[in-house]
């Protein structure tokens, strides 16, 4: 799936935004833009206190701002995500955030939020009941929609308008586009049948859950998802025989499936006949894959490309350098080799074919 320019809402927002902001960043002029509901948001000044009802809000804003001073609260599920991922090391101050703004999911705990005195609240738009209680008490809500790549690009833009740092949004988006363009060039001549067949498995219980249709474009990595169909369903639960019928060359595990490891596949008697298991080509996505909404998600495409088609990258630069460069650009932080090993899940992936050679 390839982004072809901005959708009309984004274009509208871009039009108003650029018209009202001066060229210099961090201008104090009043800001008007449309959120993902199409509602006009007016900010007299960049907000000093932001509550996010979901984990990726603070991540995107940190990438735009370079600091987390504006963020005062996030929901409880975010804690699990930050704690179990590289964000705990990258942005340790996130762990100290007030996590009471919602209960289990995204339903707002209005009193807790009011106590934090936010200037704006970030909330999903897919259920009106998530936003009504907030606007009902006079809070200003910026609505984010989900879950296409276009939406993710627009998170950066919305955060840019909110904080006045549109330049940062542009910089990051350009970096994403450049990376994707480079990958397209690498696999320009690859026909579909020649791409590597993969499955994305996020749960092994009595049945197996695979991702059927997601927002990731596997052709950027020279691969194709064998479970993709035209139902539009994100997940499919299948049995062992179906896995054998597909018989992928590679199995990848999303980063959010924190309990699942390649070793779980290698030790499973029922899966022993899969090519991916026999050849030890089961890999866990690194930590930059943890939040599909985060700014560095594009690194997943290059990582998968190197894992699935190592031959195409034999003369390319080291992935370590790409990582250092990306984290410097996005989070304005230097990461150590030790941290890179952590990000790349070297411990979990070390028994999988070629991983240490590729990323050790």
């Amino acid at each position: 799936m390839v982004d072809v320019g901005l959708r009309s809402r984004g274009r509208w927002a871009a039009a108003i935004g650029t018209a009202l902001l001066s060229a210099a960043p961090a201008a104090q002029a009043e800001v008007n833009f449309l959120d993902h509901r199409g509602k006009l948001i007016t900010l007299e000044a960049p907000p000093q206190r932001i509550v996010s009802m979901f984990a990726s809000g603070p991540l995107v804003h940190y990438a735009i701002d370079g600091h987390s001073d504006r963020i005062v609260g996030v929901n409880k599920k975010a804690q699990a995500m930050y704690e179990g991922s590289f964000y705990a090391q990258l942005i340790p101050e996130f762990l100290k955030l007030n996590m009471n703004v919602a209960g289990e999911g995204f339903a707002p705990n209005v009193e807790a939020i009011l106590e934090l005195k936010p200037d704006v609240v970030l909330q999903w738009v897919f259920d009106p009941k998530l936003i009504e209680p907030l606007e009902g008490v006079g809070l200003k809500v910026i609505g984010w929609d989900c879950c296409t790549n276009q939406h993710r690009r627009e998170y950066l833009q919305l955060a840019g308008y909110t904080t006045g740092r549109v330049d940062r949004a542009q910089t990051i988006l350009q970096k994403q586009d450049a990376s994707n363009e480079a990958l397209r060039k690498v696999f320009a001549d690859l026909k579909t049948e020649q791409t590597v067949g993969i499955l994305v498995v996020d749960e092994i219980k009595d049945s197996f859950r695979v991702i059927a249709n997601s927002s990731q474009d596997y052709s950027l990595s020279g691969a194709r998802n064998l479970a993709a169909d035209d139902t539009g369903e994100w997940w499919r639960t299948v049995d062992a025989e179906q896995l054998l019928v597909w018989n992928p060359a590679i199995i990848v595990i999303p980063a959010y499936a924190s309990e699942l490891k390649p070793a779980d596949f290698y030790g499973n008697a029922v899966l022993a006949n899969l090519d991916a298991v026999k050849n030890k080509r089961v890999y866990k996505f690194p930590h930059f894959n943890r939040s599909p909404d985060a700014a560095e998600i594009y690194l997943s495409d290059e990582w998968l490309a190197r894992v699935a088609n190592p031959a195409h990258f034999s003369s390319a630069g080291k992935f370590h350098d790409t990582l250092k460069e990306s984290y410097k650009l996005i989070y304005q932080k230097d990461i150590t080799d030790e941290q890179i090993r952590f990000i790349l899940e070297l411990e979990q992936n070390k028994d999988s074919a070629g991983y240490v050679d590729l990323f050790g």
């Binding site: 009595d206 049945s207 049995d239 062992a240 025989e241 008697a269 029922v270 006949n273």
Partner: protein, 352 residues
Amino acid sequence: MTHATIAVLSGTRLRTWAIVALLSVVLVVFATYSITLGRYDIAVVDVWRIVWDNVVPAEAPTWTPVQADVVEVIRLPRILAALLIGAGLAISGAALQGLFRNPLVDPINIGVTAGAGFGGTLAILMVGGGYPVLAAAFACGIGSLLVVRGLASVKGRTSTLTLVLAGVIVTAFFESAISIVKLLADPHQKLPAITYWLMGSIAATNYSDLVLIAVAIVPPSIVIFLLRYQINILSLGEDKARALGSPIEIVQWTIFAAVSFISAGVVATSGIIGWVGLVIPHVARTLVGPDHGRLLPVSALLGAIYLLLVDDIARTATVAELPIGIITSLIGVPVFAIILRRTQSRSGWTHD
């Protein structure tokens, strides 16, 4: 002598043996067919050759090792599990119906299944896993039976209405208790383990699961069968049974223990499956009558065939696998309603 010979050779006896033989044949044929079902492409003949290869090794296999694994590792344990569980649940239902003198009783509507589920859940919360989970499931299964019996017996008489209501109450209680345990459980470790345990299905049965199922079902079923004459007597009523000299407390406790054992084993390996113990004994009774010496074996065979059929549907009907407990409910609950209507219309609400 002549009278006794006539009794032994009477129509009912012959008919029973004929039915048992027929059902056995159906079971073998059906199992043989079921093992050929599945998404992985294997020629039907090869499937049988693979199974036979375990009895008499073949010289030149016409199949690939992958195909052999699909048959032996993926399909076969599951089929055997379905047979055992179907038989065990059917026998449990028949025994409970005799005990409570009520043809509407089933381990799931009498609260045993929910009790076993709660026991296992609590054990996972407190201990983590392993045999204590089974033991706790067993203990709570028995506990729920005792509570139901206590609630439903008024002056020694048990009416359909109070029995069904007692089962509803006990089930509701244990399901709430399970919810509380889930709330207390650590959401990262214990809660997923609990949810997984409760939701279990036959789907990925392996051979160690199968051993556990066999141990949980076969010995108790044999014990129940040995008590077939006593169950007949108990079904006349506690007073009558006591007057006839039957040691009714021992019989009741033994059957409670056996049924709880079977239920605990089934819940622990394969999740909540119910209504088999209602539907199957009902059908079996119309075939061979209520004498438990005939009813129990026929129920076992019918139950095995039934659950294998249900499992075949569960894994082939749609793309995603249907939980087996849902199918047995979809069939069992309407059957329950029909039987209830029929027994009530015949004899009124105070039918005893």
